[in-house]
C-alpha cells in the first residue's frame, strides 16, 4: 500500500450524518487522519475535483468509503446525471478496500423505510458480486451515525495490517463485540433491577420501561465515548439499537413486555436465568440505589 493511501468518499441516500460525525472527530485524531490518508474526493470537503471526474478517472482507489443507501431509481435520486448504483459499481471496480459507513450503507437503514422507492439497498447487495481488489470482504460499520473513531481505527488498522478481523456480519470484531450496555454508567441499576422511574433522571436503568436496547446491541458507544464526553444511555436516552440490522424498530421509546416482563432479555441470557436473577435481585430493597445520587438543593 502507498505510504499515503488514497481515499474516496461517496454520499448516496444519506442525511450526511456520518460526514458530520467524522468532522466531529477529536481534532488531534482528525489531523492524524489527514496526515496519513490522501483524500482525493469527499463531496462536502474537497473542491479540486468533481464527482463526474472521479467517476470517469482511471486512478486506483485504496479506500472507497460509502455513506448512505444505494438505489438504481434515478427518478428519485441521481448524482451528476448518474444513478448512485452506477457510480458505486464504477468506483468499486477500482477500489482495494470498500467500507460501508453507517447503517444506511450497510443494509439500507432508515432510508430503506421509504417504501415507495422499491429499490433501496445496502452497498454489498448493490455491488452484485463486484468485490474489492484486495479480496478483503466489504467492511460494515453499522451505526446511525457511526462514531468517528470507528472509521479512523478501521482505516488505520487496514493501513497498518492490510486486514481487519470481522464478525459474522462483517463488522470489525474489536468495535462490535461489546454491547452498548458495557460501560454504561447506569449498569449498577441494571444489576439490581432498579428501573428508571421516568425520563429526565440520573438514576435508574432504561431497559425496563424506556425501551433501551443496550443489552442487545453490539456497539462500543459506552467504551469509546461520543464527542469524547458521553453517550446516549449515560445521559438518559435509551439505546435505539442503531448498529443492529433491524434498525429502526417500532416504538423506540418503550419496552415491549409480556405480563410485566421485558419481551426480550439481554443477549445470550436464557429467559429462565434472567427471571431467576431478577426475582432474587428484586427481593432486596437497596436504599442507595433508590434515592437521588445528588441532591441539587442541598
Amino acid at each position: 500500500m502507498r505510504s499515503k493511501p488514497t481515499l474516496v468518499w461517496l454520499q448516496a441516500l444519506t442525511c450526511n450524518g456520518n460526514t458530520q460525525s467524522l468532522l466531529s472527530s477529536n481534532h488531534t485524531r482528525f489531523e492524524q487522519f489527514l496526515l496519513a490518508f490522501d483524500i482525493i474526493y469527499h463531496p462536502s470537503l474537497t473542491n479540486t475535483i468533481t464527482l463526474k471526474e472521479v467517476v470517469s478517472s482511471n486512478s486506483e482507489i485504496d479506500f472507497l468509503l460509502v455513506e448512505g443507501a444505494i438505489t438504481s431509481q434515478t427518478h428519485f435520486f441521481s448524482l451528476s446525471d448518474m444513478s448512485v448504483k452506477t457510480i458505486l459499481q464504477t468506483l468499486a471496480q477500482r477500489a482495494s478496500y470498500i467500507i460501508s459507513v453507517g447503517s444506511c450503507a450497510v443494509f439500507g437503514g432508515i432510508h430503506a423505510k421509504f417504501e415507495q422507492n422499491n429499490d433501496i439497498q445496502g452497498v454489498e447487495k448493490s455491488l452484485e458480486h463486484i468485490t474489492p481488489k484486495s479480496n478483503h470482504k466489504i467492511i460494515h460499520l453499522t451505526g446511525c451515525p457511526v462514531h468517528p473513531e470507528w472509521i479512523l481505527q478501521t482505516l488505520f488498522t487496514l493501513k497498518a495490517k492490510g486486514v481487519i478481523q470481522l464478525d459474522l456480519h462483517n463488522r470489525p470484531v474489536e468495535l462490535y463485540s461489546h454491547l452498548a450496555h458495557h460501560g454504561c454508567t447506569r449498569n449498577e441499576y441494571f444489576e439490581w433491577k432498579v428501573e428508571a422511574h421516568d425520563f429526565g433522571l440520573k438514576e435508574g436503568c432504561l431497559f425496563y420501561d424506556q425501551g433501551c436496547r443496550g443489552p442487545m446491541t453490539h456497539s462500543s458507544c459506552n467504551k469509546i465515548l461520543w464527542n469524547d464526553v458521553s453517550s446516549k444511555t449515560r445521559v438518559g436516552m435509551p439505546c435505539i439499537g442503531c448498529t443492529e440490522f433491524d434498525f429502526p424498530r417500532d416504538n423506540l421509546f418503550e419496552t415491549k413486555k409480556n405480563i410485566g416482563i421485558p419481551a426480550e432479555v439481554p443477549l445470550g441470557i436464557s429467559k429462565r436465568a434472567y427471571l431467576s436473577i431478577t426475582g432474587v435481585a428484586k427481593t432486596f430493597k437497596i436504599e442507595r440505589l433508590n434515592k437521588k445520587i445528588i441532591d441539587e438543593n442541598s
Binding site: N16, L23, S24, I39, N47, F76, G200, K232, M237, N251
Partner: protein
C-alpha cells in the same frame, strides 16, 4: 444560450440551469434531484418514533428537526385541551442544544463551504483556506468539534441524539456538567475573538454602524476584503422580504415587507408542488423539474435565515450593513457570522440562569395514544431559517407528517408570477461563478431541501 452546471458541496448537489442573454443570466432554475421520502416514511409510525426519524432528515441540523417534532407533539396536547408542563430548565436545555448546533454549522459553512470558493476566485488567494490542509480550515474543524462537546455532555452525542421528548428532556445534567458546557462556550468565544473577528465579543456586539467593518480583523477581514474585490456587496439581492417563524433562542418572530416589520398568521403559510416531481414516474408533467416544493406566506416568497433573524429582531450592526449593502451576498454571509456572536452570548446567558433543581421532565398526563384525533404544528428557527413540522395523529399513529424546511423557503421553485428567493437573487449574474456564490450564500442544504 443555456448552461447547466452541477453545484457540489451543498450537503448533496443541485443542478443550476441558466438562461443567458447578452452575457447576463435572465432566467434560472435550481433543480434538486435527490428525494428520500421522509414524510412518507413517517406515515404509520408511532408518534414518539418521529423523535428518531426526523433528526435523520439532516446530519447537520438534526437537532432543529428534533425540536420541531417535540414542539409539534406538544402542540397536539395543547390542541386536545390537555395541560402539559415543560419546565424552564428543560426549555433552556433544548435551546442550548440547538444553539450549539447552529454555531457549529455556521463555523463549518464559513470555512468549509463558502470561503474555499471565494478564496479560489480571489487575487488575494490565501492558502490558509485550502480545504483539508490550510491552517484556518483545520482550526475550524477543531472549533466545530469542540463546541459540540457542550451539547454532547447533556444530550449524549451529536449528530443524532433524541434527547428532547414531549414533557421535557431525557437528561438531568449536574452543576459540573453545566460548568463544562460553559467552558466549551468560552472556548468558542475565544475562537470567535481570536480567529474569526479579532474583536472582543462584547465590543463586537456593540457594533452599530456599517463603518464598524473596519474594526474587524482576522479571517472575517479576509472575507470582507475578498468580498469587495469580487463585488459580493453588489450581487445576490432578492426581494428584501424576510420571515422568522419562532421566537425561541432569543430571536423575534415576524416578517418584513417593504421595510415594514409585522406579525404573521400561521394559516397564511402555504406549500405548493406545481413544479415538484410526483412519486409516480409515469405521471410527470413537463413543467416539473425538481424535488423541492415551494412555500409562500400570503402568496409571496420570503427569505428566511440569519439575515432575516437579524433584521426582524433589529440587530443594529447587521441592520446598518443591510441599509448600505442591501440583501447582497456580502450581507447574507456577514449576518451568518454575526449570528455566531449573538448566539454565543445568548448561550452564556442561558447557562448562567438555568435552575438545575427544576425537573428535566414532567410526564404528560395522557399518552398520545389516548388522543383519538390529534393535530399539531411545531415551529423553530433552524440554522438556515424557519422550520415547520405539521403532524396528524390517530390514536398515537402518524397519519400525515409535513415538513417545510428553511431551504424550501429560500430555494424552492418560483412560479409564473414570481421567481423563488434564490432564483430572483441569481438572475442578473454575469458568470456561473457569480451565480454559484449567490446560490451558496443561502447556505444551501440539499438534503433538507427535498427531504
Amino acid at each position: 444560450m443555456k448552461t447547466v452546471d452541477i453545484i457540489e458541496r451543498i450537503e448533496g448537489e443541485a443542478k443550476l440551469h441558466l438562461n443567458w442573454k447578452n452575457g447576463t443570466v435572465h432566467d434560472a432554475h435550481i433543480a434538486f434531484l435527490n428525494f428520500r421520502g421522509f414524510e412518507f416514511m413517517l406515515e404509520g409510525k408511532s408518534a414518539l418514533d418521529a423523535l428518531v426519524y426526523t433528526p435523520r432528515i439532516c446530519g447537520i441540523c438534526g437537532q432543529a428537526h428534533l425540536y420541531a417534532t417535540v414542539n409539534a407533539l406538544e402542540d397536539i396536547y395543547k390542541n386536545a385541551g390537555i395541560a402539559l408542563e415543560v419546565t424552564p430548565k428543560a426549555k433552556s436545555l433544548r435551546e442550548l442544544g440547538l444553539i450549539v448546533e447552529i454555531i457549529q454549522s455556521h463555523i463549518k459553512w464559513f470555512y468549509f463551504f463558502i470561503m474555499p470558493d471565494i478564496n479560489k476566485n480571489s487575487t488575494y488567494f490565501d492558502e490558509r483556506f485550502i480545504p483539508l490542509k490550510g491552517a484556518a480550515w483545520l482550526k475550524a474543524q477543531e472549533a466545530s468539534s469542540s463546541i459540540i462537546k457542550a451539547l454532547a455532555v447533556f444530550a449524549g452525542q451529536w449528530p443524532h441524539t433524541s434527547y428532547m421528548i414531549p414533557g421535557g428532556v431525557v437528561s438531568d445534567p449536574t452543576s459540573m456538567d453545566m460548568i463544562f458546557v460553559e467552558n466549551y462556550l468560552d472556548k468558542a468565544i475565544t475562537f470567535f475573538e481570536q480567529n474569526v473577528s479579532g474583536v472582543d465579543l462584547h465590543e463586537y456586539l456593540s457594533f452599530s454602524k456599517s463603518e464598524n467593518i473596519s474594526d474587524i480583523s482576522k479571517d472575517l477581514k479576509i472575507f470582507i476584503q475578498m468580498s469587495f474585490e469580487q463585488k459580493l456587496e453588489k450581487i445576490g439581492q432578492s426581494y428584501d422580504r424576510f420571515f422568522v417563524i419562532s421566537d425561541d433562542l432569543g430571536f423575534v418572530k415576524g416578517k418584513i415587507k417593504h421595510k415594514n416589520s409585522s406579525k404573521f398568521e400561521m394559516s397564511k403559510i402555504h406549500e405548493n408542488s406545481d413544479f415538484t416531481f410526483d412519486l409516480k414516474t409515469n405521471k410527470q408533467k413537463k413543467e416539473k423539474y425538481t424535488w423541492a416544493k415551494s412555500v409562500k406566506y400570503d402568496n409571496l416568497f420570503y427569505e428566511t435565515g440569519p439575515l432575516a433573524r437579524a433584521l426582524v429582531q433589529n440587530r443594529k450592526f447587521i441592520k446598518a450593513i443591510h441599509k448600505e449593502y442591501e440583501d447582497s451576498v456580502f450581507t447574507r454571509v456577514l449576518a451568518r457570522i454575526d449570528e455566531m456572536a449573538f448566539l454565543l452570548h445568548k448561550a452564556k446567558d442561558i447557562v448562567q440562569t438555568i435552575r438545575l433543581s427544576e425537573d428535566s421532565f414532567i410526564k404528560p398526563k395522557t399518552d398520545l395514544k389516548m388522543i383519538e384525533e390529534g393535530f399539531g404544528i411545531g415551529v423553530i428557527e433552524a440554522t438556515r431559517g424557519s422550520l415547520k413540522h405539521d403532524v396528524t395523529l390517530h390514536n398515537g399513529i402518524i397519519q400525515r407528517y409535513e415538513v417545510i424546511t428553511p431551504t424550501v423557503w429560500n430555494l424552492g421553485p418560483g412560479n409564473a408570477l414570481e421567481y423563488g428567493i434564490a432564483q430572483k437573487a441569481i438572475i442578473g449574474s454575469k458568470s456561473v461563478d457569480e451565480a454559484t456564490i449567490i446560490l451558496r450564500s443561502f447556505d444551501v442544504c440539499s438534503v433538507c431541501t427535498t427531504h
